[in-house]
Amino acid sequence: MMERWLPLNAAAHGARIDGALNWVHVLMAILFVGWILFFVIALWRFRRAKNPVASYTGVTSHTSTWIEIAVAFVEAILLVGLAVPLWAERVAKFPPEKDAVRVRLVGEQFAWNVHYPGPDGVFGRTSIDKIDVQTNPLGLDRSDPAAKDDVVTVNQLHLPVGKPVIVYLNSKDVIHSFNVPEFRIKQDAVPGITIPVWWVPTITTAQMRQRLGKPDFVYEIACAQLCGLGHYRMRGFVTVEEPAEFQKWMDEQVKAQASTGDDIFQ
């Protein structure tokens, strides 16, 4: 039902989020329609012209109490059955790190800095006094051995399809919020804290283009938290590829950044 209004889902858990959204809206729709009918009938039947003398006692049946209890009951089911387990899965059931693509994503006014650990799987050291807006926005310390093979991009997040992704969110300045509507993911990037978030992308960018019939489709990262005058244009891009393509891209980046790294990042 709600899928009509939502962007096409492209994450493994998304269908269940949409399902939860569906069920709440079913409850809402039932209540809404029920009460509106009651409302219209009441206004029609008890208008002054038709019913000049009001009844002192009014409604005596206890139906409404039962409706209220039913509402409470349904809310409890939605809560226990859907919302809490789904949330628990999002925030507590992370996939093992070795099975996942791991990325640091650091927000700043007004861009997303992407940091891959590279083949060694270890994020290189960063420090704030190495930060340079133009050349080294993350303050990556290339003298750290772990940093040698790290890959850094701005606003470009590449991911392989079908593999869990863990994104470690952080911010350099103010609060931003990582939001890709198609992935049913939203999470604030709060300075001073690192918050992980994970999901499994299920549709590649190319497949999306086909399905939507939009040859220039891209997944967009939309900053969802007011972060200053450029909030509206704090836009990043996600490219979801077949694993082989992703690996190719990654290898190229590693090579390019490792060879030129020292020159660029100093």
């Binding site: 863990i166 804290i193 994970w198």
Partner: protein
């Protein structure tokens, strides 16, 4: 106006409370010199402070013999006080962690 004998009795209570408050102040300062481990120090200091606060509120502020209405208001307030004091701490104790 309360009768004089009553007031005299109250004044004696005030003096007694005053002496206890002084004593408790000395005690809490003395204990703090021992540099107890933090949890113990906090517990002791808070217990002493609560006793002192209780004395001031009960006797100087006459809460011990106040009207029901005031108790209701303060009960409601205390509930909200603990909500604002403790619930935010959850942010520290239940963050999203990746293990």
């Amino acid at each position: 106006m309360g009768d004089h004998a009553d007031i005299d009795r109250q004044v004696r209570t005030y003096i007694l409370v005053f002496v206890s408050l002084m004593a408790l102040t000395i005690i809490t300062v003395t204990i703090s010199r021992f540099h107890l481990p933090v949890p113990a120090a906090v517990t002791v200091a808070l217990i002493v402070a609560c006793i002192k606060g209780g004395l001031v509120a009960s006797y100087f502020m006459h809460l011990i013999s106040e009207r029901k209405l005031i108790y209701w208001v303060l009960g409601f307030t205390v509930a909200c006080f603990f909500a604002v004091l403790l619930l935010p701490l959850w942010t520290h104790f239940d963050p999203i962690l990746n293990h």
